[in-house]
């Protein structure tokens, strides 16, 4: 005889233990939905453009993404706070608001003088007037517009730009400030990417086209 016992066999009750319940199926989190939607949106746009099917307005991408985030937060407010997605929304809001400003800031060449300068144009109007920093006045009242009209680009990186136009000229003006203020006669705009367009309605042939840019500061057009 030995003291050894045969190995215990599991009882029938033990053998009939139910298998563990499968975990309930969890859908994608709100963050995954937002990121996934964003990637799909960018991918579809990129594909359409690469395949020459459509010209995608990329400027609309950031606002569209912000709308997706907003809708996701409204939907998700029933379940959790979603601080991460709110933070993403804040970052995107800043990006959307400053997109116009960045466009102007990148566009402006930092060339020309520094300090206070007044350019009085007598005779032919040149195609470009640049100033880097300070106060810059371009007086075009005595400038001569060629028979085919004239196109002038005037830019200032940081400071105040004043453009005085001939009183009788037919004008097409596009004035932009990356961050700051734009005044064209009696109209005013300010903030990030402030932009004003002006078209004379007298329809003469000699049109003076002004493209005015200030990265940070103020641009004013007066007669």
């Amino acid at each position: 005889m030995t003291d050894e016992h045969p190995p215990e066999t599991p009882s029938a009750a033990e053998m009939s233990v139910a298998p563990p319940e499968p975990e309930p199926r969890r859908g994608p989190s709100l963050g995954q939905i937002v990121v996934g939607s964003f990637l799909v949106l960018v991918g579809v746009g990129w594909f359409l453009e690469a395949a020459d099917i459509a010209d995608v307005p990329w400027r609309a991408l950031l606002p569209a993404s912000l709308i997706v985030i907003g809708a996701a937060l409204v939907f998700g407010s029933r379940t959790a706070r979603h601080g991460g997605i709110i933070a993403l929304g804040v970052v995107l809001t800043i990006a959307v608001a400053s997109a116009g400003a960045v466009e102007v800031l990148i566009d402006i060449p930092i060339t020309g003088g520094v300090g206070e300068e007044r350019a009085v144009v007598i005779g032919d109007i040149e195609a470009e007037y640049r100033h880097a920093l300070g106060s810059y006045t371009v007086d075009l009242r005595d400038g001569v517009i060629g028979p085919g009209g004239g196109e002038v680009e005037i830019s200032l990186a940081i400071g105040e730009l004043v453009v005085i136009v001939p009183p009788e000229a037919t004008l097409e003006i596009d004035a932009r400030a990356g961050i700051g203020e734009v005044i064209v006669f009696d109209r005013q705009a300010s903030g990030f990417g402030a932009d004003l367009e002006y078209r004379s309605e007298d329809g003469r042939e000699r049109v003076l086209t002004l493209d005015l840019d200030v990265a940070i500061g103020k641009v004013e057009v007066r007669r």
């Binding site: 709308i67 937060l73 409204v74 029933r78 705009a189």
Partner: protein
């Protein structure tokens, strides 16, 4: 609709409104004026207030 986090919902509405405003601007339908930004500041304040109120109710 049972909203457990009204602050999150307000934030969502604000983001959606900003997105719609800038989308309209991208398509040249509307020009976003700098003057509307204080409205968003008010909205952010409202989010903080609503969030705080909700939290204090949960604590009671």
């Amino acid at each position: 609709m049972n909203i457990r986090h009204p602050g999150t919902m307000v934030a969502g509405v604000v983001f959606a409104i900003i997105g719609i405003a800038y989308l309209l601007e991208a398509f040249g339908v509307w020009q976003v004026e700098f003057r509307i930004w204080p409205v968003f500041l008010i909205a952010v304040g409202a989010v903080i207030l609503l969030g705080g109120r909700h939290r204090s109710r949960e604590d009671e």
